[in-house]
């Protein structure tokens, strides 16, 4: 199965929840009128696209209808696809993870509680190892019960070493040790797990800022990627998460998890529109292989792909 079909399969729920509803709205309404726009807006909001982005999208559609003198509702499907693809692709198309074989690379993984950080690290380590990187993990969540054990199990599954200390110890110290290890060994990718924290907790956010500083100081030459893990089931709070995490660490990409469950993949559109942070990875399950690159154009294409195939 090619990338496209796999992606399409993983997004079945998203498509059912989102695209098919759009299609239904457009099939049942033959003429383009205010009611239709209202229904489209509701469909977008229901898909967690977000109130702002939904209103903006519908505004654009109104404009396009005038410009192109569209009459039939079915013509709007193509317009919607275009506009969504436009938002998803954006101007900033630095896609994919920034990991360089000839350099030391650090991936700092951050996010709110339960978003899927540790699991994503397991999957990512597996993938990078398959791509012949030499991967090292750091158990920077020293707070949550058995968080270290959880990462150790993933380390075992993947077959990579995990730098860790005791529960309750200083996360900064673990990160420091891990940086030293990366510098002194042949390993070229260090992935750091951090404790979940809600973005309004000042102390915990300051702790994260410190981790960022340790990285900058200890590995000044390294490629640093800061991945914000967002749960796709999240609503409007995702925006606040991205904003506030970006204030303490330089978030370079988003990994959107649990896309297998939600019928609301629209959240990607809202995030992309409001945040301008590229979505780099998506999680579509709990298994070791359930991590995919996010490719905006293909994603939009898959989202709107017809049922046959």
């Amino acid at each position: 199965m090619g990338f496209f079909n796999k992606l399409k399969e993983g997004l079945t729920k998203t498509r059912q929840g989102f695209v098919e509803k759009v299609s239904t709205v457009l099939t049942f309404n033959k003429t383009i009128d205010e009611d239709l726009f209202e229904e489209l807006e509701e469909t977008l909001i229901q898909a967690d696209v977000g109130v702002n982005t939904s209103m903006k999208l519908v505004e654009t559609m109104r404009r396009r209808v005038k410009e192109r003198k569209l009459k039939d509702a079915s013509q709007l499907r193509e317009v919607m696809k275009e506009e969504i693809a436009h938002i998803l692709v954006g101007d900033n198309d630095e896609l994919g993870l920034n990991v360089d074989k000839d350099k030391k690379n650090v991936i700092l993984v951050v996010g709110v509680n339960g978003a899927g950080k540790t699991t994503t690290i397991g999957k990512l380590a597996h993938r990078l190892k398959k791509e012949n990187h030499r991967v090292l993990l750091a158990a920077g969540d020293t707070f949550r019960a058995a968080a270290i054990d959880q990462l150790l199990i993933w380390g075992q599954r993947v077959g990579v070493e995990v730098i860790h200390n005791q529960e309750g110890s200083d996360p900064g110290a673990v990160v420091f040790d891990a940086c030293k290890s990366l510098a002194s060994r042949r390993d070229n990718v260090l992935i750091i797990d951090t404790a979940g924290r809600l973005q309004n907790k000042t102390n915990l956010m300051e702790e994260l800022r410190k981790v960022g500083k340790i990285l900058a100081r200890e590995l000044p030459e390294a490629n640093v990627e800061v991945l914000l893990v967002l749960d796709a089931t999240t609503g409007q709070n995702a925006i606040s998460q991205a904003q506030l995490f970006s204030e303490v660490v330089n978030v370079t990409g988003i990994c959107l998890t649990k896309l297998d469950g939600t019928a609301k993949g629209g959240v990607i559109v809202g995030i992309r529109d409001e945040l301008k942070i590229p979505v780099k990875l998506i999680g579509i399950g709990e298994g070791i292989d359930d991590l995919k690159d996010f490719q905006a154009e293909e994603f939009a294409e898959a989202l709107f792909a017809e049922e046959e195939a």
Binding site: K13, E42, I45, Q46, A47, D48, V51, V112, N113, G114, A115, G116, G122, F143, R144, A145, A146, A147, D149, Q150, L152, I153, W154, R157, E167, L198, Q199, N200, K201, D231, T233, T234, G235, Q236, N237, A238, I239, S240, Q243, L244, K258, D260, G261, T262, A263, K264, V267, E286
Partner: protein, 308 residues
């Protein structure tokens, strides 16, 4: 951090144009309801729930005399707030205790919602009331899920029943009941693995646990940051399994928490507790009027309105 300007501010703005106070006309209310709608949607209340709600409030508001002490904007907020509060039901922090011990509580929900942590909090809460809970490690899938519960058990000095990861959760639950009887535990709290509401196989597993141990309380644990999908999740778990109440977690964050309203509206089941932090004492009763204020994004106007 408030990302949104408060509904009350917006309504004041809307009603500026209104010259005399008098009665709320249909047109005034219609305009106000547009703002209310956006505010609720921005708070992640499900859009169908918003639609019903706005309709109901509109009906009630039209033709009402505006109270002397309030501006028309405040008056509408007062009505909206009252209706929201009543929709979210009464304050409910009671666990139904079975006359024939042990009382069995089962925690279910999506991945990462906060089930295991809430189980620890609940056991702690019950222990403080003089009960003797037994926690049951029924998540055999997530790496270190059992260890997580065991660590909580150690911290709380509360026993944890586990049979490792090679025995089915149904069998674990069954044997846990025997253990509780033998040890004289009067409360059994079963932790289950996170699962998607659309995963039939895993939903069947929950049904089988239910059929085996007949829990007195099946509590759905819901992350308060959940978006529009909260209704589908709550509805599926309720239809498939039949839930008795909800625990809303991570309310110590800055989410507006519209999921609370959505989940309550579609299941009709009470929100029994809210999670206010990661620590094991961060479990609180649910206060509907506080939640209503939070969803509407208003704190200060409320005191003003309460006096009216």
């Amino acid at each position: 951090m408030a990302v949104f300007s408060s509904l009350a501010d917006k309504l004041q703005e809307t009603f500026k144009k209104l010259k005399n106070k008098g009665k709320l006309t249909e047109a005034d209310v219609a305009e106000a309801m547009r703002e209310v709608r956006v505010a609720l949607l921005e708070a992640d209340v499900n859009f169908k729930v918003v639609k019903d709600f706005v309709g109901k409030v509109r009906e009630r508001a039209v033709g009402q005399e505006v109270l002397e002490s309030l501006t028309p904007g405040q008056h509408v907020v007062k009505i909206v707030h009252e209706e929201l509060t009543s929709l979210m039901g009464s304050s409910q922090s009671k666990i139904v205790i079975s006359p024939k011990p042990p009382t069995v509580i089962m925690l279910v929900g999506l991945q990462g919602a906060g089930k295991t942590t809430s189980g620890g909090k609940l056991a702690n809460y019950l222990k403080k009331q003089g009960r003797q809970p037994l926690m049951v490690a029924g998540d055999i899938y997530r790496p270190a899920a059992i260890k997580q519960l065991q660590v909580l058990g150690e911290q709380l000095q509360i026993p944890v029943f586990s049979l490792g990861t090679d025995v089915s959760p149904v069998e674990i639950a069954r044997q846990a009941m025997e253990k509780a009887s033998a040890q004289g535990n009067d409360m059994v709290i079963i932790d289950t693995a996170g699962r998607l509401h659309i995963n039939e196989e895993l939903m069947d597993e929950l049904k089988n646990i239910k059929a085996t141990v007949h829990p007195h309380e099946i509590l759905l644990v819901v992350d308060s940051m959940t978006g529009q999908d909260a209704v589908n999740v709550a509805e599926s778990f309720n239809q498939e399994l039949g839930i008795d109440g909800l625990i809303l977690t991570k309310l110590d964050g800055d989410t507006r928490g519209g999921a609370a309203l959505s989940a309550k509206a579609v299941t009709g089941k009470p929100i029994k507790f809210v999670g206010m932090g990661e620590k094991l004492d961060a479990l609180e009763p649910f206060y509907p009027e506080r939640m209503a204020s939070r969803i509407l994004g208003m704190g200060d106007v409320l005191t003003l309105i309460e006096k009216a």
